[in-house]
Symmetry: C2
Subunit: 661 residues, 2 copies
């Protein structure tokens, strides 16, 4: 153990294991998680091989091997609980992706959700025995978020009782689905359904794309890999071009909508159930933001106590770089954010499961709020985490650029969350739509409930600069509930500003849609402030339930830092709304500096509590034992460029060059 | 030509070619640049091969081949002017790096700068005929910025008249130098010089590391590649471990300091000349920030007029995504920043060359200001560009993640500028040191000159919230010079705040060094505000020299947008300093929206003016003709994973899996 990092652990003022249990949801969960993780760790079949040393094709190959092994192992160990499967997967994947992810995450669930009983009987056994390897093909080369814009057609031919699937244009080629390029032999294809001459919109069809024995593409199918990306090297994201491909009528998923043999279209009974899946996935992404932050801050903080650089006092030994105020100011807010988002993720998960119960009993009343919240929080947390990972990486100096740090991998594997499952700006505008609707309800005299109930007060709290002093005196920067309160008032103010922008646009003879688009900047700001309030509030709520004094104390520091740092970074909003006086801003900076010093002794313990195994981090800089430099040297020597003493390019180009001069 | 992009070009209100000439520094320069670029374009030896489809070893191989070809071509064409060489290199490199970059950028210049006449006679011909392939080895595994911390030793042995070069620890292994891993056969090694029992600090030594014929590592040398990184795949950044390697006394670079045969050390005459090189390189990086922004905004803006998505008005065709206010709000500030930094880069370059003349005549008077400015602006522009590239990438939806967009490459090749040639936080603190010194001079009654002269006024303008109204009424948000003025006052305020923080710390019995560290957050903020002021000011100054009315008008819009966007994003500073009223912030948002609309018709013309050849951008999304989707499909089909119909992993893992279940 590196003596610096050992010393850090001895300085901790709280019991790390207890905090780990809080993060995991109880000691039993911690125990079970570790059991599952050790199944991967001790398994010779999952022997470690750093994907960074492999070619793309080798990486894909290794990922397929691991996925196949995982399927056998999960059966062997009898792991069936979704949360436990997820835990197992996280461990064997490390920072990387799974080759067959969409088969599990989209293909099988869609079969479960949208097959009629006969279809279930046919397809589920095939999918669950991996005769059928599937993916979910929705987005097209020229079309993403906007489902009505998709061009792929499925035209019913009553003569043969078949659908003809077709990609009429280049822009209609299916593009991006994971596992589509090389792995899958079937795809659920979303296509515009035409029957009896009219279009009935988007429906799902099971389309065989490769021969189930030879795995060769079937006639009329052009399928392949979409090429290298920023991350996701393990995944064969693919394209699919359909040239009048015929599939039996029974391959349309018919649980809700149907097409009769004669071509009669039967509408689905209004089904808002897919709504729930989206909410679930977005809530999961909030948790992923927290994990990415936890990993990044673990790596950067551990390295920052091991690394000595420059001097604070002339002539003294080089200090640990975590003793620089600027380094603390980079990393501790990220650490605080990691905790904040972890608790938000827990809340979203619990709320989803609670509401799911209601939904199954036909009670959809809480769904719109959760839907709006999950959209906004998905965007808010992924954007914030995205930037924060890079802050961590760049806080590690040159070595942060080495793949051995794992930080480049964490970034490229995480950043797509800003775009997939709902592009972030679109998500923010969805939340804004809910906020505007709520605001109008208040204006109409209704009383709101739930998380937007703070808008009830907007009627009495207009943005009146002359009230600055009156309001601002209310803020106590040392009182967390007072900080929650100003975040709430800021959100209310910005919601109102956005609503007024729309009103103003409408007065200028704009129609509703243009008024909306011309207020989009304000709407995104309003959603952002709303989400920020929710995060601060949930952090404070979580604290109320933590008894252990030493842990409560250190989490309170993090919560305060999170809240004050957010105010400092958005101080214009708070000043403009009269929630803060200029002089308080100076106090806030001072208080932030104090919090950085107060957190300093517990920094390593706070990242240790995330309890990432070294194998999961895959980072030389973030090693638990702090022995960074020996292992960095050892890692570098394994670089494929070192497999020969002299690279062939020397003989090919450099030797001949000399003779030509 | 895609009709959408054609239509955009027809809407332009100014002559694109004229603006290109302004950006290039005159029509002759544009002409010559294009001539040089076409030498690469029309050269079959530089045939295009997308490095994204190659393995790391193949990429390195291709880069060495291109470097060797370039050497021959430059001689053939007689291109010798450094600026023209740089232009040629940019074209053949595209978004990627050069394998032998450090041989040209550091090894040869160091020989020129630090060899005594005899050494020059020996080494320069060897280096310029590529018998000697060199690199510059300074940073070590455990040591970066802080030169005194370097551990490598060079101990003089008078018996043999040799230096013994040694890496005493793992952390002393030389780490990161480009070209060190596989390409170079010599390295200039920076080491602590020991002679006659005492250490004389860091000196430079020429160390042979590989045999000049066989290219094999020499005895006592452990050398290799440091492994995969975030970008820079073409470059063999390397490590070098020296085990008591003996080199002749004459291999110490002896232009300034010397060691006599008997081991007597002769001190260098005070030499501040290396100072100038750093200033030059940092000024160049400011220009690189501008180029990275120009490329990224070209790609994102062109794609945003070609891509149609969703709907603004219900039932209407899908609009170009550049018609969404949120998209404009992402991209136009980046476009404005690209122009701003281009002009700052021009200014830095001109100032450097002007001052270089003075330096050669022994006049160093302007160097400290330029040094401070180049440090801060290097950090300011690279940080801003770093985030902005990612904004551009994420504004392209899913396709921004594809390597075909070039945006991932632009990002990973650019981001190291935040760390190399002076880590950005360290740079900001260097500028802050100059600002604090200047502030103290004002306090002591001195009158400052040059760019910091605004601090002369701080004596009379303390942060007095009660003056809010008096000050704020001065701001006219439509007057660019008024905007420059508030940036200046903001900088003055934050410099004063930082100075007061240090004073306060000193009053608490802290020593000077701890007071500095405990004020580091404020110091970085002060530097940031100083640099921001300089950028806005230089943009405004540049405008004053542009006659053509239509170009002046559109650049004025960009300058206003740049300034107002910066105020909006940092509104807390301006409000706190009483430079702005809350109500003006609402006006600023409105004005920003108007500017977005006003710039919209010229957006494509403004990126066209950067005049990047498609080969240079290497981006399917950023194609000049806008024919994105056909070429995306064509690009994807070339992915190496598509070279076989069925990937071997199917037969290896997926087929067997079925039989095991």
């Amino acid at each position: 153990m590196n003596p610096d990092i050992l010393n850090e652990r001895q300085k901790a003022t709280f019991d790390v294991e207890k905090l780990t249990n809080i993060l995991n949801g109880g000691p039993e969960k911690t125990k079970r998680r570790r059991e599952i993780e050790s199944m991967v760790l001790n398994d010779p079949d999952f022997k470690y091989e750093d994907p960074n040393f492999l070619s793309r094709s080798e990486r894909y190959d290794q990922a397929v091997r691991k996925s196949a092994q995982m399927i056998l192992k999960l059966r062997e160990y009898g792991i069936a609980d979704p949360e436990e499967i997820y835990c197992y997967k996280r461990m064997f994947r490390g920072n990387f992706q799974e080759a067959m992810g969409l088969h599990f995450a989209m293909f099988i669930p869609t079969l479960y959700g949208q097959c009629d009983p006969e279809q279930s009987k046919k397809w589920l056994p095939l999918a669950e025995s991996y005769q059928v390897l599937g993916t979910y093909a929705q987005t097209e080369l020229g079309h993403g978020t906007h489902l009505r814009g998709l061009e792929t057609t499925a035209t019913y031919d009553p003569n043969t009782q078949e659908f003809i699937l077709n990609s009429p244009t280049v822009s209609s080629i299916k593009w991006w689905p994971g596992g589509l390029g090389k792995t899958s032999n079937h795809a659920i294809v979303l296509a515009q359904l035409y029957t009896r001459g009219s279009c009935h919109g988007l429906h799902a069809f099971i389309v065989p794309i490769r021969d189930m024995n030879t795995h060769k593409p079937l006639p009329g199918i052009v399928v392949g890999d979409i090429g290298p990306k920023f991350g996701f090297n393990e995944v064969d994201n693919g394209f699919l071009k359909l040239d009048h491909v015929r599939i039996p009528r029974e391959n349309m998923l018919m649980k809700y909508a149907k097409v009769d043999p004669d071509g009669t279209y039967i509408k689905p009974p209004s089904a808002k159930l897919t709504y729930g899946t989206m909410v679930f996935i977005r809530s999961m992404i909030v948790g992923e933001s927290a994990r990415a932050l936890a990993k990044s801050s673990t790596i950067a903080i551990r390295y920052s106590v091991v690394r000595h650089q420059s001097e604070i006092r002339r002539g003294a030994p080089e200090p640990q770089i975590l003793d620089y105020q600027t380094q603390q100011y980079k990393l501790f807010p990220v650490l605080a954010m990691a905790y904040a988002f972890t608790f938000v993720g827990q809340y979203m998960n619990e709320t989803y499961h609670r509401i799911s119960g209601d939904i199954h009993q036909g009670d959809f009343s809480e769904l719109p709020e959760l839907h709006a919240l999950s959209a906004g929080l998905k965007a808010f947390t992924t954007w914030a985490a995205n930037s924060a990972i890079e802050v961590c990486r760049m806080s590690c100096g040159g070595h942060g650029y080495s793949r051995s740090s794992a930080l480049p991998d964490i970034y490229v594997e995480f950043t797509p969350t800003c775009t997939y499952e709902g592009e972030n700006t679109v998500m923010m505008l969805q939340t804004a739509r809910y906020l505007m609707k709520s605001y109008r309800q208040v204006q109409a005299g209704e009383q709101l409930h739930g998380i937007v109930s703070y808008l009830n007060e907007t009627e009495h709290q207009r943005i009146q600069p002359q009230l600055v002093t009156a309001r601002a005196t209310g803020l106590d920067i040392n009182d967390l509930s007072s900080l929650v309160e100003v975040y709430k008032l800021r959100a209310a103010t910005l919601v109102e500003l956005a609503a007024k922008s729309i009103q103003k646009e409408l007065q200028h003879n704009k129609n509703q849609e243009d008024a909306w688009n011309n207020s989009a900047i304000d709407l995104v700001r309003a959603s952002d402030a709303h989400c920020h309030y929710v995060v601060v509030k949930l952090f404070a709520d979580k604290l109320a339930g933590i008894d252990a004094a030493s842990i409560h104390l250190v989490l309170l520091m993090l919560a305060r830092l999170y809240a004050l740092h957010g105010i400092s970074n958005n101080s214009g909003d708070f000043l403009q709304a009269g929630l803060l006086k200029g002089s308080q801003l100076v106090e806030i900076t001072t208080r932030i500096k104090e919090l950085l010093s107060e957190l300093r002794p517990n920094a390593v313990a706070l990242v240790d509590a995330f309890d990432f195994h070294d194998r999961m981090l895959n980072s030389v800089l973030g090693r638990y034992d702090g022995n960074v430099y020996d292992h960095l040297f050892e890692w570098a020597r394994r670089s494929p460029l070192n497999s020969t003493e002299v690279h062939e390019s020397y003989h090919k180009y450099l030797e001949p060059l000399r003779s030509k001069l």
